[in-house]
């Protein structure tokens, strides 16, 4: 199986004396840039065909993106997307497809909201409590898939798809008046948990463009920890080795079973964080407000960012920008905001194809180069031997 985690780490680590590597970086960057351009062209054509001026649409988006309120909205969304992508990418780095991010974050968010509504500690205890609760729930839910894979050989793709559906059911059972939702007088249709306590609110920064969620700090911490773990720790090496070749990793002494469970749990724990910015900064309860599909967006963002903690910063910002500015389209002209998923979908599909082509081209090219260099060396050596 081709690894879904191309060597972003290599691309980011230039070796000065080798042109090959510079070339690879250029190639690596060309792929996403071209994918974005291509998808803009396709979306533009789609807009033009439906009788709308694509340049006007892009101008609206660009204007919003360069305005301070647009930037704040983008950053807030990017925070969520970054967490979602980090959750997916952590699994991807060892060839684990955690399709279940979707179920993990919803369940984690529900539990965090419930705990937040029932417990009222001082903020310095309350906030860590909610973070830990969410991560624990997400991690535990994900661990089911990990255990099933390790002990029963069930593909994590299938089991996480099942677990997503089961998570929805679990939420349905729990989110009823008298369980996780307060008993209401029956006036309201929508069922939701109680409001989380004031102390559960995460800090935010007021800017002239609106409220910037303080959760961006958590996302940044996650990113730094992810990057450090991946490239500077033994655990990270084991993780990458397993992703590149499970058989080689096993022979090298990596306890693959434990790695599978660990990375599923970590991935699920990260997924647990996804819903918290919304909960702790925007709407203080769990109910109809929950944004769905974040799990799959996270997978897309991770793929675009080549599963690298640095790469997904850019892809999360791009996706967030598209979504935030896309929301402006219907308000400022006759542009349906539904064009945004089209752009995002095209980007993802173009980019995975481009990465694959670049990966294969790069491998072949390096093989040729090494062959050529060695042939030259061998020829020189042979001459020396003859002379001697």
């Amino acid at each position: 199986m081709t690894s879904p985690n191309p060597e972003a780490a290599n691309a980011a680590k230039p070796s000065l004396r080798q042109r090959i590597d510079l070339e690879r970086i250029a190639l690596g960057l060309a792929a996403p840039v071209l994918a974005v351009l291509l998808s803009l062209i396709i979306a533009g054509a789609l807009l033009a065909v439906s009788g709308r001026d694509p340049f006007e649409a892009f101008r609206i988006m660009w204007d919003y993106g360069t305005a301070s309120d647009g930037q704040v909205a983008t950053l807030n969304k990017a925070t969520v997307y970054y967490l979602a992508a980090a959750a997916a990418a952590f699994g991807f780095r060892m060839n684990l497809f955690n399709i279940g991010v979707e179920g993990q974050y919803k369940l984690a968010m529900l539990f965090a909201a419930y705990v937040g509504s029932q417990v009222d500690l001082p903020a310095f205890l309350q906030i860590p409590l909610l973070l830990v609760t969410a991560m624990l729930v997400g991690g535990l839910w994900a661990s089911i898939a990990g255990l099933l894979k390790v002990y029963r050989g069930v593909s994590e793709v299938i089991s996480t798809i099942m677990l997503n559906a089961i998570a929805t059911a679990v939420i349905g059972v729990l989110l009823v008046p008298g369980v996780f939702a307060p008993k209401t007088n029956g006036t309201s249709n929508s069922i939701q948990t109680g409001k989380i306590s004031e102390s559960s609110h995460f800090f935010s920064i007021s800017t002239q463009g609106g409220t910037l969620w303080g959760f961006v700090v958590i996302a940044a911490l996650v990113g730094v920890a992810f990057q450090f773990t991946l490239n500077r720790t033994r655990f990270g090496f084991d993780l990458r080795a397993t992703g590149r070749s499970e058989s080689a990793a096993k022979a090298s002494g990596v306890n693959v079973r434990r790695m599978v469970i660990t990375s599923m749990v970590v991935s699920g724990a990260l997924a647990g964080l996804i819903g918290l910015p919304e909960l702790m900064q925007n709407t203080p309860y769990f109910g109809q407000n929950v944004q769905t599909n974040l799990g799959f967006i996270g997978i897309s963002v991770a793929l675009l960012g080549r599963n690298s903690p640095i790469g997904i910063v850019f892809s999360a910002l791009l996706f967030a920008f598209l979504d935030a500015s896309g929301a402006q389209l219907p308000t400022q002209g006759d542009f349906p905001s539904e064009i945004i998923p089209v752009i995002q979908g095209t980007i993802v599909i173009c980019v995975v194809v481009a990465y694959e082509l670049v990966r294969r081209y790069g491998l072949k090219r390096q093989q040729q180069k090494v062959g050529a260099e060695l042939a030259a060396q061998a020829a020189a050596a042979a001459k020396k031997e003859v002379a001697a």
């Binding site: 033994r234 084991d238 070749s245 080689a248 022979a251 090298s252 002494g253 990596v254 093989q367 090494v370």
Partner: protein, 528 residues
């Protein structure tokens, strides 16, 4: 990269034509071209005087060319008849008529193939017969056999050769790819030798000697591991007792893979394990490495009990491992060399300090390995995939030797490696042995086994059934034991032994006159 250039071969109808060359000489590429799996950049192919061009295997099949691949091309979950009929459905349909035809062909050539069996349930020799039948079913008049004997025991090889002679008698042309000299001399009517992707000469098997052939193949002197004085000490290094592994198969039936395996390797001793592939060698290695759970038995190293310990603990305890399949088990192909240097020793210096990696230390040490072990590479940032097989293997050997191993497990250490690297690897194993290393050597190359080992044990169907002293045994007698025909301690007839040793000695002398023996220097390169 040029894999093949200036290849000229003419094959007469109704003959067995052998195509020889060592591993990596370009035989496989040539075969792929002949069978339409790859297109040549220039040059022509003519069948029966008619120039042809193959763009798919289908084209080759239409011209009556059939190929029996070295790695069997069978779908395990399909039945024998489905495998045979696949791609040739137009010939006899896919119903009763097809099955009847299969039975008819099977009887005609004495292949004994059962059309309704599931391929999954067949043994190696049976699978090969299915492969041959597959080709015959398509009415092939030219048969290409790619290293057909690599996986067979000598008796099965004889049966195969009988089949080939029958085929020849019926006017079928056979192209037989091999690097095993005595097999080629036994069965071929004509021989072409390939080296470095080009034909270097034709030979008549009736007049050529094995030695001349070998020189044609290698183009230089033939290296062969030499026996030397013993470095075996009395100190026990590896002790394996009563090992047993039984795997449950898809049916839920237990199949015993290893049974009652006990062995002991002392410091400075090389213990060779001989056996036909698939008799439990791979599992034995994995059991000692801690990659397979044991059902019974113990493993201890240097007095420390390692039973039930994780692979990493065993590696840290001092087991070095040169795996059989380096692409799957030894390397991260898409990672740079220095990361490959870390693989397997991530917990040890200079690769890490505490839980943190030490990339600088690993890089520096990789440079040292490249230098000391003569790994030919333009740098340590290139991916492992871009190195040749021999250099990949040297990197692995260098890595495993860099952590003062107490025990080295070397599974087919020179398989698919060029002659130069082969000699270097042997020398490195020897040098370490002199320093007190214990080595468990698994090899399909009997000459390598006899040349390197201090003791040889024979594995057959998961049991160690025989043992031998390499000084008093011939490859032939060892081969017999590998089929399960001989048990206990094996000792060869003195005169046969003398002859074999003389032949081996001659083989190593580059300038010597051509020797008379046809058994000379058989199989210096292990099968792929």
């Amino acid at each position: 990269m040029v894999a093949n250039h200036d290849i000229d071969i003419t094959v007469q109808r109704g003959t067995v034509h052998a195509l020889m060359g060592e591993n990596g000489a370009g035989k496989s590429t040539l075969m792929k071209i002949l069978y339409g799996m790859q297109k040549p950049d220039e040059g022509t192919i003519a069948v029966n005087g008619e120039q042809v061009e193959f763009s798919t295997p289908g084209d080759a099949i239409d011209r009556g060319i059939g190929m029996v691949h070295q790695h069997f091309m069978l779908a395990d979950n399909l039945t024998v008849w489905e495998n045979i009929v696949l791609g040739g459905e137009k010939l006899h349909g896919i119903g009763a008529k097809a099955k009847a035809k299969i039975r008819e062909l099977s009887d005609q050539y004495g292949l004994g193939v059962r059309p309704d069996a599931l391929v999954e349930d067949l043994g190696v020799a049976d699978r090969q017969r299915v492969e041959i039948l597959k080709v015959l079913y398509r009415g092939a008049r030219i048969l290409i056999l790619d290293e057909p004997t690599a996986v067979l025991v000598p008796q099965e090889v004889d049966a195969l050769f009988d089949n080939l002679r029958d085929l020849k008698a019926e006017g079928v042309t056979v192209i037989f790819i091999s690097h095993k000299l005595h097999e080629v001399l036994a069965v071929a009517d004509a021989i072409s030798v390939i080296r470095r992707g080009t034909t270097v000469g034709d030979a008549d098997p009736h007049t050529v000697t094995a030695r001349q052939l070998a020189e044609l193949m290698v183009g230089a002197e033939l290296p062969s591991p030499e026996s030397r004085e013993s470095t075996v000490t009395e100190a026990e290094m590896l002790l394996v007792e009563g090992l047993r592994i039984a795997k449950a198969d898809a049916e839920g039936i237990e199949r015993v893979v290893l049974d009652d395996i006990s062995l002991r390797i002392r410091k400075g001793e090389i213990l060779g394990i001989a056996g036909v592939e698939g008799n439990g060698q791979a599992e034995l290695v994995e059991a000692i490495m801690g990659m397979l759970p044991l059902d019974a038995g113990t493993v201890s190293l240097d007095g420390v009990d390692l039973t039930g310990k994780l692979t990493r603990v065993r590696r840290e305890a001092g087991i070095g491992y040169i795996p059989e399949d380096r692409h799957r088990h030894g390397l991260l192909l898409e990672a740079p060399l220095w990361e490959n240097r870390i693989l397997g020793h991530v917990t040890e210096r200079p690769n890490s300090k505490g839980v943190l990696l030490d990339p600088a230390g690993a890089r520096a040490d990789t440079l040292r390995i490249v230098e000391e072990f003569d790994v030919r590479t333009p740098g340590i940032e290139v991916t492992a995939a871009s190195l040749s097989g021999g250099n990949q293997q040297k990197l692995i050997v260098g890595r495993e030797m860099s952590h003062q191993p107490k025990l080295l497990i070397a599974a087919h250490p020179t398989r698919g490696v060029d002659v130069g690297a082969q000699a270097q690897i042997w020398e490195q194993i020897r040098a370490a042995q002199r320093d007190g290393l214990a080595v468990l050597l698994i090899s399909a190359d009997l000459d390598e086994l006899i040349g390197l080992s201090d003791t040889i044990r024979v594995i057959y169907r998961g049991r160690l059934v025989a043992d031998a002293d390499p000084a008093t045994v011939t490859a032939e007698d060892l081969g017999t034991a590998m089929t399960g025909a001989a048990r206990g301690h094996i000792e060869s007839e003195p005169e046969a032994l003398a002859e074999a040793q003389a032949a081996a000695a001659e083989g190593t002398e580059a300038e010597a006159e051509a020797g008379p023996s046809t058994d000379t220097a058989d199989d210096d390169q292990a099968g792929e």
